[in-house]
Symmetry: C2
Subunit: 234 residues, 2 copies
Amino acid sequence: MTADKKTQCLEDLRMRILTQEIAPGSDLDEATLCDRYGMSRTPMREILQRLGGEGYVDLTQNRGAKVASMDLPVLRTFFQTAPMIYANVARLAAENRKAGEVAPLKAIQERFRAATQAGDAAEAALQNHRFHLAMGEMAHNPYLLPSLKRMLIDHTRLSQTFYRPASEDEAARVVTACAHHDAMIEAIERQEPGVIVDLTIAHWNLSRDRLERFVSPDPLPIDVLPMKDREDAV
Amino acid sequence: MTADKKTQCLEDLRMRILTQEIAPGSDLDEATLCDRYGMSRTPMREILQRLGGEGYVDLTQNRGAKVASMDLPVLRTFFQTAPMIYANVARLAAENRKAGEVAPLKAIQERFRAATQAGDAAEAALQNHRFHLAMGEMAHNPYLLPSLKRMLIDHTRLSQTFYRPASEDEAARVVTACAHHDAMIEAIERQEPGVIVDLTIAHWNLSRDRLERFVSPDPLPIDVLPMKDREDAV
DNA sequence: GCAATACAAAATGTATACATTATGTATTCA
DNA sequence: TGAATACATAATGTATACATTTTGTATTGC
């Protein structure tokens, strides 16, 4: 069916961008894509428009679509912002999750585990993406979700390197990350916001160094957003 | 020119939704809009698609566009999330603002002040929207901006009531809000993140009660997201 | 030989005709 | 009379032709 074909195309393009099969900064030619996915320009343009809104691609007037780039100044703010968004989304997921939402999360986690064990970095990164996106949806907060989705795009693109461990220590980190996911599921199931916030911070710290090193060989001193402890405010 | 007409139409629709000239939940008929704005369906559909991505309208397969509704369960998360997003965006704006960005902010603030003094609630809400959006752009953080924009949609729609004061006390609050903006500009200009965070919290608290009362006559006990004071993490 | 301009080719943007899906109404059958 | 189905109508989705804008190339003038 036509609507399904469009959804599939959209999902496929997202996936190819997330795995860097289509590199950051690449030009996306309408005609080529139409040919590849067997549809006319009108629905394809809608898809590109939508990918633009989600932050997967950059659109410029009369100059087509480019896959969103990952330049250093922007990525610096990524490391600044990620823990705040992730921690708060996780907390809300534990608080607001519905009963039927835990099983699908477990299913994703199984696929994630399988991919890490098979050493399939792209698939692991994708399933990790789906895992955190599912958690984001369990938070039931439409205001935070857009930022989470935006972060996960770059996080997933960066994390390819994390799932391609180059040493014993790095391999162990992947195993720990997988265990974190299991513990997160349990914390969500039991609705323990405090637990999942701690887990999320640990999860973030586990991969942060590796990701940063990928961004710049000389690690920058990143001062992450400190949020003052205000009773009246946040 | 054609591109400009599209931009104007997009901006006009945003405005009409923000001022509730088009009510939450309203159906948007393509043909009617095409007629009104003098363009064909193709660019109009792109506009609706874009408004959908931004959270102004909800799109459903084969069933057109509806202006995003403002239901109570969702608005509860609005009050939960707003201070966190606002405070962090403000902090980043003070830290990352560029020199040339302060003047435009001042210009918006003048229009805001004029609208409040003229008692034009819709215009005041719109200029307040533009003010906080401009601050958001000064934060130079593409990850937080989507959530800020999403919040500002509902905030602006709710805030109409705030700028239509029904008592001396409420009128005084509007004056205070205006003074807050002035102080924020100064804090941004001087790059004082601590100051602007305090101001932002005060600014939020000033309008919160009034907005909440508009949402539900019986004010709910809102427990705002507390962010633990972690050295290692956030 | 270099720069600037004019032209051609390719790509993006728009309008419209056609296809498909949803919806409301009327008719038929129990 | 009520429910269900078939049909008509309206609205959304897609394909394509046409318009506009950009960009690369070649030619001309200095």
